[in-house]
């Protein structure tokens, strides 16, 4: 279903439909996260990916245009590049451990250590919360910095939007 959604993004022309499809894609991936025992990630993806992103995109659509103009005919070069990259990545997975195997490097060093220590050191039942807020608190600090920077950027880019629009209208009124 995820693949069908992603492919329909490729062929659809209406930008409104594309934004809705991207929300659907996020919700489906949240379901997949629940299946893979990542409930916290699923919450965030459903709220942020399907919620906030879609709202932001719809807002942008309101300020810009509604549908995609006619494309040039599809070229062969991007497709070739994409297939090549995919083939290389798949070649890379040949060395990867089996899906869900408990004896992989990822499962034998840091993960069990966290699970052992959290009940003793931090009295929080949710391991993800404990790591996020305590062991890897610096990540969240960096994340806050990124979001802050992005906020400043958006504000700078959008500031004076209404004012410029008004001036434009006055100019047009004056010239005609």
């Amino acid at each position: 279903m995820l693949i069908v959604t992603a492919l329909s993004v490729v062929v659809t022309r209406s930008l409104f439909a594309i934004v809705t499809l991207s929300g659907v894609f996020s919700l489906l991936s949240a379901l997949l996260f629940v299946r893979m025992h990542a409930v916290d990630v699923a919450f965030t993806e459903a709220a942020v990916g399907a919620g906030i992103s879609t709202v932001l995109m719809l807002g942008t659509l309101a300020l810009t245009s509604r549908s995609e103009r006619s494309d040039k005919k599809p070229q062969i070069a991007p497709l070739f590049l994409v297939v090549l990259t995919g083939a290389l990545l798949i070649y890379g997975t040949l060395d990867m451990p089996d899906f869900g195997a408990p004896d992989t490097p990822a499962q034998t060093h840091v993960g069990p250590d966290y699970i052992e220590r959290i009940p003793k050191e931090i009295d929080v039942p949710n391991a993800v919360t404990a790591i996020l807020a305590s062991y890897r608190g610096y990540d969240t600090l960096g994340e806050t910095a990124v979001v802050f920077t992005a906020g400043i950027g958006v504000l700078l880019l959008m500031s004076g939007l209404a004012r410029r629009r008004k001036e434009d209208e006055e100019d047009e009124g004056g010239s005609s």
Binding site: V10, S29, T44, V48, T60, R69, Q75, V110, D123, L157
Partner: protein
């Protein structure tokens, strides 16, 4: 070579291949489509498939979500999935929204200046502007 053809080998890696396929759809949208909105949606698809790849690495079959009982008495026979990828991806999702919003804001400004969000039309307009500037310079020289 024989080990590459067993069904266990293929089944164990099918999840990676599935996510790589999704990733490549996203990449194709970003490269081949000229509409900026579509590019941003493609970027989001790419990003979400990377998240799924990470989470799938953290999964342990027969395990459960890494949430302990309320009394904090952990049953040693229960296996938990690896919580570390979850934490990293939580951070990455929020950062992803920050970049998306920045891209959307840029798009609004581009639309304001060029009255279009199609990449090839923007390129045409820029070429015209450049040509006209060159033309002006030539006239000054004469």
């Amino acid at each position: 070579m024989a080990e590459f053809l067993t069904s266990d080998f293929v089944l164990g890696r099918l999840n990676y291949w599935f996510f790589i396929f999704l990733m490549m759809i996203g990449l194709y949208i970003v490269i081949a489509k000229s509409n900026l909105m579509k590019k941003i949606v493609g970027l989001n698809i790419f990003q979400t498939s990377v998240f799924m790849l990470y989470i799938s690495i953290g999964k342990v079959s027969g395990g459960t979500a890494p949430i302990f009982p309320m009394d904090m008495k952990v049953d040693p026979t229960v296996t938990y999935s690896n919580p570390l990828p979850h934490v990293l991806i939580l951070t990455a999702i929020v950062v992803g929204v920050a970049t998306t919003s920045l891209g959307l804001a840029l798009m609004v400004r581009i639309r304001e200046n060029f009255y279009t969000i199609e990449e090839h039309e923007i390129a045409e307009q820029e070429q015209e502007i450049m040509l006209s500037e060159l033309g002006l310079k030539k006239e000054e020289d004469v």
